[in-house]
Symmetry: C2
Subunit: 285 residues, 2 copies
């Protein structure tokens, strides 16, 4: 039996199970202060019997096992959470920790739309834009974990929107996240018509990100999920269109229909990501 914790900006999801088709228990906890939130999560885990724990968290995270800050959240605008240590949740049990999107990417490889592949990317479009990358079956690591949602890409010709990323203005996240789309349209996402130009600009930014990933991390497939992508099915087709035209047959990929797809686990990719990390910690996969 495995346990997973997905730590998100507004809520944390604790899951007990062995995979998406075998979830034995799931508990949601609102994300407040780190002390209160982590104590509530620890209480839930205390009541469960499991052999490995997966922690999939918002970041940026220190994942360097030789670092004194291993397993902690680095500088984040989220009040109180900079420096919060997450590994104490494991309480001596084997564990794995990674970014929420790397977890989701792993889950898609085990149970979703990336089964049988060796290299793939998972993009989530929600309150931010996150990218998880798997290369030759392993989570792509180096100096930190992927933050490719903050890539710099060209905008559509004549676009003067300044973007809304607090660090970079008009990086991909600043152009294509839910808040960016809402800011551009001047209204809440659910009130923006599917043919509104704001979607087109967001799709273009995501397509430019995909162009760069195809030529850089060399995914066999890119899964695009998160609330915004799943709620707006027209977005994926626009991404495919812009990507095709941008790549101009460059890059060793087959057709764009198979290259750009929705995640197989849909909205469950996130919470399942924590279980996927747990299964790595348990050496199941």
């Amino acid at each position: 039996m495995l346990a997973g914790v997905e730590l998100g900006g507004t809520k944390c999801i604790c899951t007990l199970g062995t995979g998406p088709d075998d979830v034995r228990a799931q508990v949601e906890i609102p994300t407040t202060s780190p002390e209160e939130t982590l104590a509530a999560i620890a209480d839930v885990l205390d009541g469960w019997d499991f052999q490995a724990l997966g922690i999939a968290s918002f970041g940026p995270l220190d994942l360097d096992r030789t670092s004194a800050k291993f397993g902690s959240i680095l500088s984040t605008p989220k009040p109180g959470w900079s420096g919060a240590h997450l590994t104490s949740l494991a309480n001596g049990i084997p564990f794995a920790i990674d970014s929420d999107v790397n977890g989701a990417a792993l889950a898609e490889g085990l149970w979703g739309a990336a089964q049988g592949l060796e290299s793939w990317a998972y993009i989530t479009i929600g309150t931010g834009v996150g990218v998880g990358s798997i290369s030759a079956g392993q989570i792509l690591r180096g100096a930190g974990h992927s933050e490719a949602g903050h890539q710099r890409v060209p905008k559509l010709a004549g676009d003067l929107f300044a973007g809304c990323c607090m660090y970079h203005g008009d990086c991909v996240e600043g152009l294509a996240s839910g808040p960016a789309i809402a800011a551009r349209a001047g209204k809440d996402g659910r009130d923006i018509a599917p043919d509104h130009d704001a979607w087109r600009h967001a799709a273009h930014a995501i397509a430019m990100l995909c162009h760069n990933l195809v030529l850089t991390t060399l995914p066999q497939r890119i899964l695009i999920g998160g609330g915004v992508a799943i709620g707006q099915p027209q977005l994926l087709e626009m991404v495919r269109h812009y990507l095709c035209s941008s790549l101009a047959d460059y890059g060793q990929t087959d057709g764009v229909e198979d290259l750009i797809v929705l995640p197989g686990l849909g909205e469950r990719a996130g919470p399942c990501g924590s279980l996927a990390l747990a299964s790595r910690a348990a050496n199941w996969h």
Copy 2:
């Protein structure tokens, strides 16, 4: 003893030795038709005694060992070379083949400015812009090899230069390669003053590429070499300046002085790349 062949667009360099400080022989062959060129290379190799061969070539290359086209050059604008098979050069001897820039990146890890690192990138700025990526000690692979020199990045505000990449127009290569800089300035590179705006635009494009690499392939260091970068020392400082301002302290890197450096092997990184690949094939490293 190792042998290496670096196949370039205008010349091929055959090297016999064990590393940059122990080169026993080196022969240059002009790149003409594949038949003529490969026969001349084979003649050189025939005269040498070595235990493994490294082939570092311009691309794109098919590096999928399960493919019928393994070890061949894929679609290239270079007349006659599309489909040329390179692995016959090995003639039964253990060999490794990869892109010229991946070879150079490896060489920098063994003998140059990336010694002791786990993840790094090597950028060459010459007739094109090439990027080699090493992740956790291994060449980053997936659907093909890195073609990150063709990333799409934003231009400096107001820049109307259309770029000169025959595939993508104003991708990084179309903005920052030697021919791009010459086209923008309207004169040969050696006649462009060091403070000409053309360098600034090229440095900006390279800095945007570095921004995207830092957040995506997570290099601990990025080495920037090739004839253009080595010949224009002011370029590196401009890249550092634009990168610093673009990253805005995002990304888990130390200071930009140590992040962006010249290759330790300088112009020798290319030919040494073929020896580095040979040393992998011989299981020396």
